[in-house]
């Protein structure tokens, strides 16, 4: 009977520990969302930054005061995967949305479109690349007339990036890169 009560108590303590850590990680993620916006650097650099580590230290000391035994590293590891996903989403949104107005960021969107076009020119011969690029422009104008600028940009970006894989495969075939790669793998 006494043993059962001890086990129940231990389970309750474990649940309390998990709940506290979970609340703190949610709090940390909410707090760091603002710092992620516009952060110039990789996720690893972000995780090493002073703001992140100060906040983690503060939360961990709060948890210890409440009796939850956890190290900074453990706490950091628990948050890392969620923070990472959020970091990429925020970075992407920062690229396409102007945070001050909440509208799409035309200069950055345009830049990406141009980069996609450049990749087409890189992998295709000049005539085909011009025809593809012209088709994209014509398609863009059509979608623009029907659904507006935002959807037209999404359409165009999707077209460019979904076009790159078949174009890249054709390019590697042309240069016989795949057989060279397979040969290297087989030898290695």
């Amino acid at each position: 009977m006494k043993l059962m009560r001890t086990n129940q108590e231990a389970a309750r303590r474990g649940r309390r520990h998990n709940d506290r850590v979970k609340t703190s990680t949610t709090f940390l993620i909410k707090k760091l969302k603002k710092d992620m916006n516009g952060f110039e650097g990789s996720f690893e650099e972000f995780l090493r930054s002073k703001e992140v580590n100060d906040e983690i230290a503060r939360l961990v000391s709060q948890l210890r005061q409440k009796g939850t035994k956890i190290t900074r590293r453990e706490f950091k590891n628990r948050c890392a995967s969620e923070l990472k996903s959020l970091f990429y989403v925020v970075s992407y949104l920062h690229e396409v949305v102007d945070v001050s107005t909440g509208l799409s960021n035309p200069s950055k969107g345009e830049g990406r479109r141009r980069f996609g076009e450049f990749l087409l020119y890189l992998f295709l011969d000049l005539d085909t690349a011009e025809a593809v690029s012209g088709d994209l422009e014509e398609g863009y104008q059509k979608v623009l007339k029907k659904f507006g600028e935002r959807k037209a940009k999404i359409w165009c970006t999707k077209q460019v990036y979904s076009s790159l894989w078949p174009v890249f495969v054709a390019w590697t075939k042309k240069l016989n890169l795949l057989s060279v790669l397979f040969g290297l793998i087989r030898r290695g």
Partner: protein, 114 residues
């Protein structure tokens, strides 16, 4: 050696070029027609790699067209189906028909069992 069997996607592209009026046999209308046939989204890159392949096989020929304002001053590329392409389409039709005759239908199988 006989004419090679073309893939369904290549067939859709050849069919689109055959069906479209001559002034519309360039990328955008071809892609739209193929999307209509297949009911799937077709990327521009996927279409052009297939067009390129078909041209190399001698099924198609292409010529540079005029540049228009709505295309940002970029030229169109018109495609024309050649005799080999028509033969490949006919062969694809024949193969499909043969296959259908060869594979017994569910109805016939059910009748046979009864």
């Amino acid at each position: 050696m006989g004419l090679e069997i073309i893939s369904p996607f290549e067939e859709f592209v050849l069919l689109a070029i055959t069906k479209l009026p001559e002034e519309d046999t360039y990328g955008v209308p071809i892609r739209e027609a193929v999307e209509e046939f297949s009911g799937e989204m077709v990327s521009v890159g996927q279409l052009y790699t297939t067009l390129d392949r078909l041209e190399k096989k001698g099924f198609l020929t292409s010529r540079q067209g005029e540049a228009t304002e709505e295309r940002g001053g970029k030229a169109k590329r018109y495609y024309k189906i050649e005799g080999l392409g028509e033969a490949a389409l006919a062969k694809a039709d024949r193969v499909r028909l043969n296959a259908k005759q060869w594979v017994p239908s569910k109805a016939r199988l059910a009748g046979g069992a009864a």
